[in-house]
């Protein structure tokens, strides 16, 4: 279509509402976060510029560094488990067996149901005295007494990861399934005629061709998991004794709990820096993958 000046103006007019909306509700707050992070803003109306004090404080105490490391460990295990379980799910749902369509529908509820509601259900399942997991394990004689999964640091850490994996798996599964189905069938047929078995074909044909999908999904999943708030907040609020306090939770507690807006903003800036790095990696990966496709 012609790229005359009036066409450009028309396009910009169409874009204006979206641009204004995003600039006001996302871009401006991002700038505000950065500015706030250099102040001692709190509940009081007036506040002063304090330079790097907030950053010095959060990194000086050593506490925040610990939180960053914990966040990365938490994210690493959650994302890896999502990828592995999602891949297994995609392979299973790709099999041409009766009931296939129904099984695919049944995969979706965790993704579609309001997150908080799914998390409440997990909260009950983790209940030590009466919950399903502890209950069933006891009934089968696998554990001697009740385990309150959310009451101890180690178990709470893994319990929140499992719930995060549970919420993320449907999305990963469906995405991998779609990628799997876009692989040309004749590749498999040719390999089959040559006598290649099912597992061999998966390892040598399916898996290599799914590398782009796996990269895309892991990066998206990484960003979503890194930002995960609802799960930890509802299950443990970051406890017991900080064992599930990730960067987001820590920021929320500082800002909204203690009303230290300046210090909270400094934490948010650190998170944003990490997210920006992930974004750059993601964009690079997408570009490289597109170039690969074009060749």
């Amino acid at each position: 279509m012609t790229s005359t000046r009036s066409a450009t103006l028309f396009a910009l007019a169409l874009l204006a509402p979206a641009l204004i909306y995003i600039l006001t509700i996302v871009a401006y707050p991002l700038v505000d976060t950065i500015l706030l992070s250099f102040t001692n803003a709190s509940l009081r109306a007036d506040y002063d510029f304090v330079g790097w004090a907030n950053y010095q404080r959060i990194f000086g105490a050593g506490n925040f560094t610990e939180v960053i490391i914990r966040t990365f460990i938490w994210t690493f295990f959650s994302v890896s488990m999502k990828m592995i379980i999602g891949m297994c799910g995609a392979v299973l749902l790709n099999a041409a067996i009766p009931g296939q369509a129904l099984f695919r529908i049944l995969t979706m509820p965790p993704w579609i149901v309001p997150m908080a509601i799914g998390i409440f259900m997990w909260g009950w399942m983790y209940n030590g005295q009466f919950g399903m997991i502890s209950g069933l394990l006891q009934n089968f004689g696998l554990i001697g007494g009740p385990i309150a999964f959310l009451a101890y640091g180690d178990t709470a850490f893994w319990a929140t990861i499992v719930t995060d994996v549970w919420i993320g798996v449907p999305m990963v599964t469906i995405y991998f399934l779609a990628a799997m189905q876009s692989i040309p069938r004749d590749l498999h047929e040719a390999a089959w005629t040559d006598g290649a078995g099912r597992f061999y074909r998966f390892r040598r044909i399916t898996l290599p061709l799914m590398v782009p999908a796996i990269i895309t999904m892991s990066l998206l999943s990484l960003i979503a998991t890194f930002n995960s708030f609802d799960i930890i907040w509802i299950l443990t609020q970051g406890g017991p004794s900080g064992s599930t306090t990730t960067m987001i939770i820590d920021t929320y507690k500082t800002a909204m709990g203690s009303r230290k807006y300046g210090e909270g903003a400094a934490r948010a800036v650190v998170i944003s820096l990490f997210v920006t790095i992930f974004c750059i990696v993601y964009f690079r990966a997408v570009r490289r993958l597109q170039q690969g496709e074009a060749k």
Binding site: M1, Y21, D32, C88, I97, R104, H188, R198, D230, F283
Partner: protein
């Protein structure tokens, strides 16, 4: 199918699917069974998976335990509906602009929208709180609607743009040659053709808005009358104990409509999910 499964393989596949679906559905199965159990049975040992004397009592008593429950469910719907409306009104023209016009900065803007997608509301909570306070929107529906829509706009633009790119350009050009204005072309040629795509975006937005009502509602609203369901459910957490059976019953009533949407529209959802896999 090239090679057939042997019966051992079929058995293995079903076993695998059973384990996989059990992981996915266990909380819902357990949640449903809990909603059928009398409260006393929940707090007794040994644990029993299957309810004894199960009944739907909780589905009736919950309305008395939390009188605002109906309002919370309504609020969730209302908030998601308005968010969907705002998103559609903003996204349709924007997606068309990106799909049809090559102007300087288009690529940058598209990238910018994608980047917005990566930021969660949780990171921007402090300035958003200040913004909502300045605009006088705290403790109103808008405090949940306005930021909620913002984080759903970018992915919707990408999704709808992809869809619109598939509509042949010749159609717009033909309308032009016939003397139609640009706006008329958008309204009378593109809009009807893009309708299926718009419907997918609307469904995805509605589900997204419904699913993500937590952090903004938690932080920007403290009034019961505006609380959406996820926050409203905390009312079942009493001082002494949690009324778990009613909490689960209320959860199921609240998610039933979304479940119905899945069953009827799952084809669209799979298409939308894979095309617009930019947000989890």
């Amino acid at each position: 199918m090239i090679d057939r499964y042997r019966w051992q393989e079929v058995l293995g596949l079903y076993a695998g699917i059973a384990v996989f679906l059990f992981f996915v559905l266990a909380p819902f199965i357990e949640g449903f069974l809990v909603s059928l159990k009398p409260l006393a049975q929940l707090f007794s040992t040994p644990y029993s998976f299957i309810p004894k004397n199960g009944s739907f009592d909780a589905y009736f008593t919950m309305w008395q335990s939390v009188p605002a429950l109906g309002m919370h469910i309504f609020n969730s719907f209302f908030i998601s509906s308005v968010v969907t409306l705002i998103v559609i009104v903003i996204v349709v023209p924007a997606a068309y602009a990106f799909a049809r016009f090559n102007f300087t900065g288009a690529g940058l803007m598209l990238g910018g929208f994608l980047a917005v997608n990566m930021f969660s509301g949780a990171v921007l909570l402090i300035p958003l709180f200040r913004l909502m306070r300045t605009m006088g929107l705290l403790n109103t529906y808008w405090a949940m609607i306005v930021p909620g829509a913002a984080f759903l706009i970018p992915s919707s633009i990408w999704l709808l743009r992809t869809y619109m790119l598939r509509i042949p350009r010749e159609l717009d050009e033909a309308a032009w040659v016939d003397g139609a204005t640009r706006l008329y072309t958008l309204r009378r040629v593109i809009l009807p053709l893009a309708m299926p795509g718009i419907v997918v975006v609307a469904i995805m937005t509605f589900i997204g808005a419904y699913a993500q009502q937590f952090i903004f509602a938690l932080t920007f609203n403290s009034k019961t009358e505006f609380m959406p369901l996820p926050i409203g459910l905390f009312a079942f957490f009493g001082k002494q104990e949690v009324i778990w059976n009613e909490l689960m019953a209320a959860s199921f009533v609240g998610i039933l409509p979304v479940m119905i949407v899945i069953v009827f529209l799952q084809r669209y959802l799979v298409a939308g999910l894979t095309a617009g896999a930019v947000k989890q």
